[in-house]
Each structure stands twice: as C-alpha cells, then as structure tokens.
Symmetry: C2
Subunit: 233 residues, 2 copies
DNA sequence: CAGCTCCGTTGATCTGAATCAATCCCGGCA
DNA sequence: TGCCGGGATTGATTCAGATCAACGGAGCTG
C-alpha cells in the first residue's frame, strides 16, 4: 500500500501526521465494512480503538441514564469517531451506529496515543478535530435556538450539497435526520415537501435535486426578529 | 503570592500544571475586575490571552454573519475561556460578556502555549477542558431536543445547586438565563413560578430556595415517551 | 410472485411556547 | 424620600410543530 494513497483516503487527521508516523499507524490498521444499523461504538464503553469513517454515514447518539436516546450528530466521511475518549482514555460519551453501509479504518488507541505524544503535527490535528466537533455542536445549539423546522432542514441540505448546484444523495433514513435536526419525521417530511412546493428543490426518493441553491440559502437564514437567545445583557 | 494559594483559586486547568510551570505562568498573569455587561472577548478576534474566570459569571454568545446573536453557554467560576482558540491560534468563535461582576485571571496566550507544549500535565488538562466543553454543548443539545421549558429550567437550577439542599444565588439577568435555555424570558418566568406553585422551590428575587430537591430532579427527567430524536434506526 | 413489514407521507387535532401588550417592582439617583 | 427606568411578571392570543391516526409504497422474505 502506498502511503500517499493512504493519506488521501484517510481524512485530515492522519494527513497531518508525518509520513513515518502514518505508515506505522496504518501498518496495524484494519478496515471494517459494516451494514446499515450496526452499532459501531457503545456509550460508556472503553475507547480501545480510533475509528475513521472512510465511507458511509454514522449517527452519534447519547442515552441519559434514564434511557431516552437522542441523535446528537451525523458524522460525514473523513471524520474520526471519538478522538477525545481515545486520547484521554475515558469511556465513549456517545454510541455510534451506521446509518448507511460504512467502511471504517480502525487504529489501535494505544498506538495512536503514543503517536500523538511524539508527533506534534498529529497532536495538533487531533486538537483541531476536537475544536471542530465543539463547533459543530455549538452550531447545532444555535440552529435549535434560532431556526424553525424548515430552516433547519434547508440548512442540512445545504451542508450536504457539493460545491456546485446539483443533486445530493441522502442515504440516512428520514427518522435519523429528523432526530439530528430536533424534529419528528412528520415535521421533516412536511418541511421538505414545503420546500419542494416552493420550487427550491425536487425530491426523488433518497436523492434531492436542489434547483435554486440561492433561495434555499435565503430560506435557511434565521428570521431577523428572532428573540430566542437574541437578547443583549 | 504562595503558589498553593494560586492553585486552589485558579481552577482545574492550572492545577494540573507542575508547580514550576504554574509559578512561571502566574508570574506574568494579571487579575481583571469587570462590572456586569462588560464584553470580555469579541468573536472573530485573535486569541491573545487565556482567561480563567475566578469569580462571577460569563455568557458566551455566537453571532452568525447575519447578525443574530445567541447565548450559547454560561461559564461557571473556575473554568477557562476559549482554551481552543489560544492553543490553536485561531480567532474566538464566540463573544464573552460578564453577566455579573467578574474577576478574571489573564495569562499570555503565547506563554500558555509554550507551557502546554512542555508540560504534559497541563496539555492533558487543556484537552480535558476541551472535551468537557464539548460535553456541555452536547448536553445542551440533548436538553433542547428532549426536555420542555419547565424541565430545562429545573435542570438549570439543579446544576447550580450546591451539594446539599438549600438556596442558590442566580446573579445573571433572567433574560440571559432564558437565552441560554432556549426560551423567552416570559417562558422562563412561567416555568419558575410554576415550579414554585408546585411547592418545589421558593423564589426570592435573585435567590432561589429549593425546598424539594428530589422532586425537582424528578421533574427534570425527560418524559418517557419523548419521540424527538428517540428513534432507533 | 405474493405477502408482509417497515418507512415515509399525508391529514386532523391538540398543545406548549412565542408573541403582543400591560403592569409591576426593585434599584439607582436626584 | 420620592421619581425614574429597565428588568420581571402576568395575561390574552396565536402559531409552529408534536401527537394521533391512517394510508401508500418499496424492499425483503418465504
């Protein structure tokens, strides 16, 4: 296996490591292929390996001791699962399940920690990932506080949309997306069909064809007069 | 200044550094005292110093390019503001304003970065803080998705409550708390007075006297049948 | 290939919380 | 001590979205 190939296919985290570090880590790495619905990580379980999502889609959900589980984030290909638990040697704070067929790269947690301690670039990349995940969570908080269901749905699509206008494939079940967006599947369906009726997009099963990207962006902006959380001291 | 005094007053972050590192950092540190309403950090501004909140209360808010600002978190004494921006040398992702009169410890960002690079304990504590802040944000997402206004208000009080039953002082303006909880001040008022009417607590201006902590905890649990985000794949 | 099950959609209704609109009350100040 | 101003409270109304319910279609299985 050529190292450079590994780099490109492996996401920003390992890309930041020196070629030697990366080669060492990849030497013992394995690739998992799992079908939709597989539980990849269980909450409150020790973090014995670092997983990088190569392909597919993974949902992160948190169950409070009570039992109610909540979909907290949907991870895109290229991202690493649970860097923090691996580095800090604490149990996973969330469970991860495959929302679509997935390919994952699995690295030994111990080796990764050792590598991060020695390779400053890798350590920095790990911290950047943690900061990024904080930001994603913060963005979601902002979304939930300032945007209504339709706006959140519009924004979700925009985030998924490749560079230019066009169609996106949404492999995840609607219920998972609705949960991530903090609404019921019924509401998501209505929001999506409302956008379609407005002529901004076209729904074709799990493919969404965005006709008017600019209008979709406009829809996704929070209403100016929103008060929730918009108070100055 | 005795170093040990500094430790205790300085929060878990600096407590994790070696005595020498800590002494070196504290040597150039300064203490700020600011009145309520002061903007302590501005979003999109370079992170040139690390601030540790010694006393008071600080609100973190995020303004999207559009302009709508949202209260994203309220920081408790002992916590550090914006560790990630300091370590990664990126601009602040949020603004910070004093929600009550505050005392803050200010350290040079550059010195802190240097210290963290040399002192493994400090580096680990910094990562722990980042992980903790991610978790706080995730908890908030869960709250917003699974709890109604009254439950979120109850939970907020419980988090503030000292070890044993008793009264808490809530120095922040109601509007700021409401924003943090993702509701309007009107709704917060109604939630709080509802809990008072139920006999769980007693409102006395900015002091809240919790009569029945167990019942408050019970109230704060998400309803079992909550569907939002509670779907299995 | 037929049946079944699960997922997504659609409709009707209900409810929690936002909005709009007055007060009320506390703290600061003259 | 009385006035003033802004935050907090309370009430009336409205509305977005949850809930309840039923239906349609796609994919899997026997």
């Amino acid at each position: 296996m050529r190292a450079t190939t590994g780099v490109r296919l492996t996401g920003p985290l390992l890309a930041a490591a020196s070629p030697e570090t990366r080669a060492a880590l990849l030497a013992h790495a394995s690739v998992l292929t799992v079908p939709r619905g597989t539980t990849i990580l269980a909450q409150d379980t020790p973090a014995d390996r670092l997983l990088v999502l190569l392909q597919g889609s993974v949902g992160l959900s948190n169950a409070e001791d009570g039992g109610t589980a909540t979909m907290v984030e949907i991870i895109a290909a290229g991202d690493a699962l649970s860097i923090a638990p691996v580095l800090l040697q604490v149990p996973h704070a969330v469970s991860a399940v495959a929302l679509a067929p997935c390919r994952l790269l699995a690295l030994s947690a111990e080796e990764f920690r050792a590598a991060a301690a020695l390779d400053a670039g890798l350590m920095r990349a790990a911290m950047e990932q943690m900061a990024r995940q904080w930001r994603l969570m913060m963005d979601q908080v902002v979304d939930l506080k300032t945007r209504d269901a339709t706006q959140r749905a519009a924004r979700f699509l925009l985030h998924r949309l490749p560079a230019q206008r066009g169609a996106v494939d949404i492999p995840e079940p609607r219920g998972a997306i609705a949960a991530r967006l903090g609404m019921t599947p019924e509401s998501l369906s209505r929001a999506l069909h409302g956008l379609e009726a407005a002529g901004l997009l076209r729904l074709q099963g799990r493919r969404v064809d965005v006709t008017d990207r600019a209008a979709l962006l406009r829809v996704s902006l929070p209403r100016a007069g929103a008060s929730q959380g918009a108070r100055r001291v």
